[in-house]
């Protein structure tokens, strides 16, 4: 497959049900009521950014989609099928890749072994789709270079690259990434940004949680902003990027101050 040059043709599907739709999702963690009725659409072929302050419920929303927390009410529909009640492996097998905030790297395993685990269809490293792998190596050359090294020895930026590489080593319909730019040096953020642009161009659908608005606005087609367990704003990223007073109100930041 040639992901880089084969947009999935999702751009024309806006009118139909989005690829992923959360409606009225409530999630409790222990005694805490974290999500208070989240409504969120992730249109196919687009990159959706989920923004909001710390503690707004962004990570919980992603974990609820993955079945890592169970929604106590509401529905999560993926390609029209209900995900609430499915366990995490079943959700992943629907074609959803998840990169947690912690990155979830297996430190004792090599980069290659990490990739092999993400390639569910491959029995050993030589069975990973070579063309797909070349594409990943073009995005993140460090993955080729450090293939046989324990992933625990990678730098923070390289770990994030490995986490994203795992999410794309096989074609997935939806990629969820929790804070791709977190803790990265500015030059690495630029690398990450161009890799995500390339991913976007391949037509894959992405839902990214971000704190770094400057990073987010360069990637997002659509945006949803969460506060206190609800989505309080949704629209085109371009609109939000131009409206500083809206940013101030929703995110408590001015882009000018962020640059």
């Amino acid at each position: 497959m040639n992901a880089a040059h084969a947009p999935a043709g999702g751009l024309a599907r806006d009118a139909a049900e989005p690829l992923l739709r959360l409606s009225g999702v409530h999630t409790h963690i222990g005694a805490y009521h974290i999500l208070h009725g989240v409504d969120l659409d992730v249109p196919a072929g687009r990159t959706t950014l989920l923004l909001g302050r710390n503690g707004a419920g962004k990570t919980t929303a992603l974990r609820t989609v993955m079945g890592l927390w169970r929604a106590s009410a509401g529905s999560v529909r993926f390609q029209g099928r209900e995900l609430v009640g499915s366990d995490t492996p079943a959700v992943a097998q629907q074609g959803i890749a998840y990169v947690p905030e912690s990155m979830g790297i297996f430190a004792d395993l090599t980069v290659g072994e990490n990739m092999l685990l993400a390639a569910r269809g491959a029995r050993d490293e030589s069975a990973i789709d070579a063309e797909r792998l070349r594409w990943v190596f073009d995005l993140f050359p460090a993955m080729r270079k450090f293939w046989n090294h324990p992933a625990g020895l990678l730098s923070g930026g390289q770990k994030q690259m490995l986490a994203v590489s795992r999410a794309i080593v096989e074609p997935r319909k939806l990629i969820l990434v929790d804070e791709p730019s977190k803790g990265l040096a500015p030059s690495i953020i630029q690398n990450m940004l161009s890799a995500f642009r390339e991913l976007k161009a391949s037509g894959v659908t992405m839902l990214l949680v971000e704190q770094n608005f400057n990073f987010a606005r360069q990637l997002g087609d659509t945006v949803a902003v969460m506060d206190d367990g609800r989505v309080v704003h949704r629209g085109a990223m371009a609109e939000l990027a131009q409206d500083e007073s809206l940013q101030q109100r929703l995110l408590g930041l001015s882009l000018g101050a962020h640059q």
Binding site: A92, Y98, G104, R123
Partner: protein
Amino acid sequence: MSAGGRDALPRARLDLLPLVLVPLLALAALPLVGSGSSWVTLTVAGLAMGMIIFIIASGLTLVFGLMDVLNFGHGVFIALGAYVATSVLAPMAGLTESPSMATNLVAVFAAMIVAMAVAGAVGVAFERLIVRPVYGQHLKQILITMGGMIIGEELIKAIWGPQQIPLPLPQGLRGSWLLGDAAIEKYRAIAVAVGAIVFVAMLWVLARTKVGLLIRAGVQDREMVESLGYRVRRLFVGVFVAGSALAGLGGVMWGLYQQNLVPQMGAQVNVLIFIVIIIGGLGSAGGCFVGALLVGLMANYTGFLAPKVALFSNILLMVLVLLWRPQGLYPVARR
């Protein structure tokens, strides 16, 4: 896909230091034991005991690593394996009383296979009925798995009787080979060989197969393995059953080593195997191997030098190891 280059990462060094402890302990014991031939005999006995303990404990450490399950009932599979062996070997008296070692081994291998099958099958039921309802609740796990062991012991008494019963070594496996003036018991040498085969097979599965990769990854971060689309629970059941079967195998070997069985033998060995998996680093198969050899050697040297402190010596060993490496010899990188 070589990873050369000037700015390559530091190569992960194989951490051999804990492994060196095994010959170090053996050498340290040499002047204390004094006689070279006694030392060789004790060392082989210690390695044999260590290998058997490794076979028993390896499943337990992976079970803990994968699902955080503390199975205090693991010992029951040891007793079960040994008792099953008595029932399998009894009707094969023709084979076990033959002076030919090869004929004896056929009988012993048959007993091992049946014991592993029975222990594995009981493992399926144990996991389903006793362990699964208490996932994630350590206190309940400790209580209910200990309860499971008591029930298992009582069932053994009901089937095989409460009294001590003999499990004699087959004729051709008795006696020793002489190496210079050191006597090496044949059965101990065989136990070392069987242990080495199990260890190499386990390493091969863990290092070279995708299932092994999933086990190693699951021990580090279960949630991420599930997020990649694999069912860790199914994997866990497989590891639990394999671990139970290995405990059954270890039970046969332990029983033949002791030549006498009591229904409480599982509980007696339990203490040793918990010391071993703590020394090794919970969840680490390699650590379990080194830990088992250390414990086996220590038990034999102190058994010879100062029998009264034999069990204490292993607890002392554990304390010293934990002072050096608080997570055990080979800590597993966990989230």
